[in-house]
């Protein structure tokens, strides 16, 4: 077997529910649900049995309407929330043989500090808005055990320049930055420890179109240059079309379609995907 066949990230049967469920909704098929929630007990089944794999250097797109469970999935992968059930394996941790969702809190911190980076839609979530931009980069380096100021400063400068933050602004606070700049600082921070996996959740949503294009170009460039594996989430199929090699389509917490992005765009199978593609044209 060749090494490129081992996925960098493998997700199997990931589930996340809000609420305990009842006799009406707890069956394996969840037939009584309205969209993603139980009308009897109000339990929300935000992610239901989500499985996918991401290979080295690949960008996987995740598209779906608002409320389909994309952010919930991402935050479970980054341990911001605890998944209800499921398995996640990453090749960089114990050769992809241990379910990272079942590791101790310390181990999970290690994994997210060394092996993952995330960029949130809302920069307030990913950055300390009143700390310097370079301090925000240092935070992730410090968390990974770095204790040398000059080395961290050098690395931080290089990263921020790489994402086109001018040198004279690196000690400014992100609160005083434009939305596009804030996202670029988040990207630099996420990349600081050279993680093999980058999670991007609606990175360009809410930005002006020209700024959006600029950030998307940056992501594409970084991916080509660093060979990093990326999961990119968006409700906007246009963003997915521009970035993703392969795509999964989510609806009401479930994966309803998956395949090569080009294929999905040309020949969507699921009625929901067809609707998405048509609205894009």
């Amino acid at each position: 077997m060749e090494s490129y066949e081992i996925p960098v990230l493998a997700v199997k049967g990931l589930r996340k529910q809000y609420g305990d469920g009842c006799s009406y909704c707890s069956g394996p098929k969840k037939e009584g649900l309205e969209r993603n929630f139980c009308p009897q007990c109000g339990t929300v089944y935000a992610c239901q049995d989500i499985s996918f794999e991401v290979y080295e250097g690949e960008i996987l797109g995740v598209v779906g309407e608002s409320g389909s469970g994309k952010s919930t999935m991402m935050s479970c992968l980054y341990f911001d929330q605890e998944a209800t059930d499921g398995e996640v394996y990453i090749s960089g941790y114990e050769e992809g043989k241990s379910n990272i969702l079942r590791q101790s809190r310390q181990q999970r911190r290690y994994i997210k500090n060394h092996l993952m980076g995330i960029v949130y839609q809302n920069p307030e979530k990913g950055l300390k808005m009143d700390f310097s931009a370079i301090g925000n980069i240092a935070e992730k380096l410090i968390a990974a055990g770095h204790r040398n100021v000059s080395a961290m400063e050098t690395r931080g400068k290089a990263l921020l320049q790489h994402v086109n933050i001018p040198l004279f602004r690196i000690k400014d606070i992100p609160r005083n930055f434009s939305g596009g700049m804030q996202q670029r600082v988040q990207i630099a921070k996420a990349l600081s420890n050279n993680p093999p996996i980058l999670l991007l959740d609606e990175v360009t949503t809410g930005l002006d179109l020209s700024v959006q294009a600029n950030v998307l170009d940056l992501i594409k460039g970084l991916q080509r240059e660093l060979g990093i594996s990326i999961v990119v989430v968006s409700h906007d199929l246009a963003v997915i079309r521009m970035l993703a090699d392969r795509t999964i389509v989510m609806l009401n917490g479930k994966v309803v379609e998956e395949g090569l992005t080009d294929q999905i765009l040309e020949d969507p199978q699921h009625p929901y995907t067809q609707q998405l593609v048509h609205s894009l044209l």
Binding site: R109, G135, I142, R147, N148, V149
Partner: protein
């Protein structure tokens, strides 16, 4: 009219409760133990945390010293001493080496502490991560995970801004290779005195309802980076104008001519040094 107080102001149950929290604090160096902080006849924020520790520990044979920023005579130190004496009748001293129980705000005395002594430090903000994280729930988890990036980040930011670490006081320490702890607003100069201290050091925060401890002979390391080592304030070239001492923590003052001069911050140390040198001149003269 004489008001009947219990010995040392508190009822025995309250004292026991504080002592239980204290024992737990000693067992887990640097861990902030919650306790039921009591109403005191002085305002919170004026050393009620320290005072409660002192009152829970004090016994008839104790000799008490109370200092406030190095002074035994400040209003605050005097009113604390008055309250304690009114309810205990213990002996009071200014001399560090005579005291068995010392309560202090913002300083560790210059005279090295001994095994038979307990130092109680008054703490306004016990949480070293508060600056970075407002939620108590979140900081508790960070301590549990030994996740102290925030404390380091604070120092990193200072270096980015000022070119050096600029914690005036309360420079965070790691204790017993485990917890990061706020040493209370003592100057950096006093941080090294925490390391392997012969005396038990207890820290009490009244408003925040926390007790924590540096047990005797415990490793205490001030946080610093590889290329920005920890540096206490440097007074090596300063001499006290009153007593001629060197190598202690000095206050900078300005005389009428506008010229800066230095004076020991620890007033009782200064007085003692002055007496010592007077004696010497008498002998020589």
């Amino acid at each position: 009219m004489k008001i009947a107080y219990n010995y040392a102001f508190f009822d025995e149950g309250s004292k026991r409760e504080i002592r239980r929290a204290t024992l737990k604090a000693i067992a887990i160096p640097g861990y902030q133990v919650p306790f039921a902080s009591r109403e005191m006849p002085i305002a919170r924020g004026w050393g009620t945390g320290g005072l409660q520790l002192t009152l829970s520990l004090i016994g008839k044979s104790d000799v008490l010293k109370v200092i406030d920023q190095g002074s035994d005579e400040s209003v605050n130190a005097v009113s604390i001493k008055r309250l304690i004496q009114a309810t205990t009748d213990v002996a009071i001293t200014d001399e560090t080496k005579e005291a068995t129980l010392l309560q202090s705000r913002h300083r560790i005395p210059e005279v090295p502490l001994q095994e038979n002594q307990i130092l109680v430090l008054q703490v306004p903000i016990p949480e070293p991560l508060r600056w970075i994280e407002a939620s108590e729930y979140a900081t508790k988890r960070l301590h549990a995970d030994r996740e102290y990036s925030g404390a380091w980040l604070m120092l990193f930011e200072q270096i980015m801004k000022h070119g050096h670490i600029s914690t005036g006081a309360d420079h965070p320490v790691e204790i017993n290779d485990r917890y990061v702890m706020a040493p209370s607003p003592i100057p950096r100069f006093d941080n090294p005195k925490l390391h392997m201290s012969k005396a038990l050091i207890l820290l009490g925060a009244g408003r925040e309802k926390k007790i924590y401890a540096v047990p005797p002979y415990t490793k205490v390391v001030s946080l610093a980076f590889e290329d920005y080592p920890f540096e206490p304030e440097d007074f090596s070239d300063k001499v006290c104008r009153l007593c001629g001492s060197k190598g202690v923590y000095m206050d900078e003052l300005v005389d009428e001519a506008g010229i800066a001069y230095y004076q020991c911050n620890d007033a009782s140390y200064c007085l003692q040094a002055l007496n010592q040198s007077d004696k010497q001149t008498e002998v020589m003269g």
